[in-house]
């Protein structure tokens, strides 16, 4: 045992200096300093600038003014609410649906290739393009969604024009969008469960419902937790979906601001850089907390 360990140890053949490694790292460091480290520093500093003029680069001092401003801004609070609504509707529903589909796909079924194609295709297609398609499907007069509803005698709905319905339209598109990725994660989680447990349970005469509740679900619970956290992180950054469905605007009558949309709007269209940066830090802190949670879950998963 001891010997094996010694053999596997990483023997450096070159002296431990920065010389040669730096050559290999140079392009990476160059790009990441300009387009990752510098922006992070900028965001964190300009969020605390007071009366910042982006074009002139002047500011009067440091402080929490920007944070006070955004939390007093009804639009920002609305963006928090809208993002929250999107997250708490999309994540649980897509998780539940994905789990069902993944369990079904994990059976020995025919036409695997077809099902994989159908369920995973939205992963590779541009959100923005598919969003335009959904916009067409939500069309009040000629969209197929209203057509399907009319088959059941339901009155047509102003999916994208009614501020009360628009969040639901966004959620449905979001669920459709998140399904493939979630199914993939569940499938790889399911494949780590040893076939033996199922065989043993079947020999014991357990019915499939019981097998699901007593074996699959408990053994998959770390994956479920992980998937949900990842999806919460991803969905809290919702932007492209809104942009595509509502023609580049944050919903009907500007009712559907999300956090990223709020940041984008303040930075790109209004040049309120410090406000955008303060909002960005709020978003970053949320994502940061969730990521810590994710790493905690993952660590426990790894050591199982």
């Amino acid at each position: 045992m001891l010997k094996k360990k010694r053999k596997d140890r990483d023997y450096p053949l070159t002296p431990r200096t920065f010389g040669e490694p730096l050559l290999y790292l140079l392009p990476f460091l160059l790009i990441i300093s300009i387009f990752m480290i510098y922006p992070i520093v900028t965001i964190f500093s300009s969020a605390f600038f007071e009366n910042y003029d982006y074009l002139k680069g002047t500011f009067t001092g440091y402080g929490l003014d920007n944070f006070r401003q955004i939390f007093a801004d009804p639009t920002f609070l609305a963006s928090l609410r809208n993002t929250f609504f999107y997250v708490v509707t999309v994540v649980p529903i897509s998780t539940a649906l994905s789990l069902l589909i993944a369990v079904l796909l994990n059976q020995k079924i025919h036409f695997q290739a077809f099902f994989q194609f159908a369920y995973f295709l939205p992963m590779v297609t541009a959100l923005i393009a598919v969003g335009v398609v959904w916009k067409w499907m939500y069309h009040y007069d000629y969209g197929i969604i209203n057509f399907f509803l009319s088959c059941f005698g339901v009155e047509p709905v102003h999916w994208l024009e009614d501020p009360n319905v628009a969040p639901i339209a966004l959620t449905i598109y979001g669920i459709w969008n998140k399904l493939p990725f979630t199914i993939i994660l569940f499938l790889s989680g399911l494949q780590t469960i040893d076939e033996q447990y199922y065989t043993a349970a079947r020999v014991d005469g357990a019915k499939s419902g019981l097998i699901f509740r007593r074996i699959t679900l408990p053994m998959l619970s770390p994956t479920i937790a992980l998937v949900m956290i990842i999806n919460v992180i991803n969905t809290s950054k919702v932007f492209n979906e809104v942009f595509a469905l509502f023609n580049g605007k944050p919903g009907p009558a500007y009712s559907l601001y999300t956090m990223v949309f709020y940041i984008y709007e303040n930075f790109y269209n209004r040049w309120n850089v410090s406000i955008a940066c303060a909002a960005a830090i709020v978003l970053f802190l949320i994502v940061f907390a969730l990521t810590l949670l994710q790493m905690g879950v993952q660590r426990r998963w790894d050591y199982r």
Binding site: R9, D10, P12, L13, T14, R16, E20, P21, L22, Y24, L25, P27, F28, L30, I31, I32, M36, P39, I40, T42, I43, L100, I101, L104, Q107, I109, Q116, A118, Y119, F120, L121, P122, V124, T125, A126, L127, I128, A129, V130, V132, V133, W136, D141, Y142, I144, W176, I184, S208, I230, V260, I263, Y264, Y268, V273, C277, L283, F284, V287, F288, Q298
Partner: protein, 273 residues
């Protein structure tokens, strides 16, 4: 009997689900073939009466989608080449070479993965403006060629390659660089395919970054071309769907041919991404 019934139920559920997932794509494709009269028909026409290409022609000529495809292809390919080079070199340094604080430095970079892309993109827009790089291919290609996730995936793969292979190559007379190009890169082909696919799909579909950078119609990528087409051609949905087809179909074709690779790649990249 009961078993058979449950089998039927499973297939029924799966098929309904699959059709729901495919519906937007089907709807997009058939709409793209319709005439202005057919598009407004209720109940809708489920099969196109002819495969007329007028809408595609319109998109290609009046909206210059030919130019957009060229831009997107150029950006995707150049970005992929640069990303691969940068990723390979960095992953090699972080796995095979040794320098003081190597692993600590790497975990700091791993922390960067937490920073949402959207936030960085907005600030980077300012940087590009200062550099005078708006409406340039360079601005579309270079800023996102250093990706920590890809370095992480490849580094893990490199670490799995036995040390003895490295020692053997060094004894056989190879330098570090020769070892990287002749041994490590060929052995790491699966991981490299993963990264290339993730990166390629990502760049082709990227939207926020090109939207910030591009004003000049000649510099539009397909996704930007599509959104500006939406502004211009607003209610002509048959034309819009043809344009959407142009953006989406290359990825559908890619997915048809490389389905297994892409699914593996997505699962691998997913846990972190």
């Amino acid at each position: 009997m009961k078993r058979k019934a449950s089998r039927v139920a499973i297939y029924a559920l799966l098929i309904i689900g699959a059709l729901t997932m495919l519906l937007p794509f089907y709807w997009m494709i058939i709409s793209a073939f319709k005439t202005p009269e057919q598009i407004a028909q209720m109940p809708p026409l489920w099969f196109p009466t002819s495969f007329r290409l007028d809408n595609f022609e319109y998109a290609m000529t009046y909206a210059a989608f030919g130019r957009y495809i060229f831009n997107s292809l150029l950006v995707t390919v150049c970005n992929m080449v640069c990303t691969m080079i940068i990723t390979i070199l960095a992953a090699f340094a972080f796995s095979r070479l040794s320098f003081p604080g190597r692993d600590v430095i790497f975990s700091i970079f791993l922390g960067f993965m937490m920073v949402p892309f959207e936030l960085v993109a907005i600030t980077n827009y300012g940087t590009i403006v200062q550099m005078g790089g708006l409406d340039s291919y360079a601005a579309l290609i270079f800023p996102y060629t250093a990706n920590v996730l890809y370095v992480y995936i490849l580094r893990n793969f490199f670490l799995g390659i036995p040390n003895s292979l490295y020692h053997a190559a060094r004894i056989d007379g190879a330098s570090n660089f020769k070892y990287l190009t002749r041994i490590m890169i060929p052995v790491a082909k699966p991981a490299l395919v993963t990264i290339a696919l993730l990166n390629g799909i990502d760049t082709w579909n990227s939207f926020l970054w090109p939207m910030l950078i591009v004003n000049d119609p000649n510099m539009r990528t397909v996704t930007i071309g599509l959104t500006s087409f939406v502004q211009d051609a607003g209610i002509r949905y048959e034309r819009l769907m043809a344009a959407a087809c142009i953006v989406v179909l290359p990825m559908i074709v890619l997915f048809l041919f490389a389905r297994k690779y892409i699914i593996t790649a997505m699962a691998r990249g997913g846990i972190k991404g």
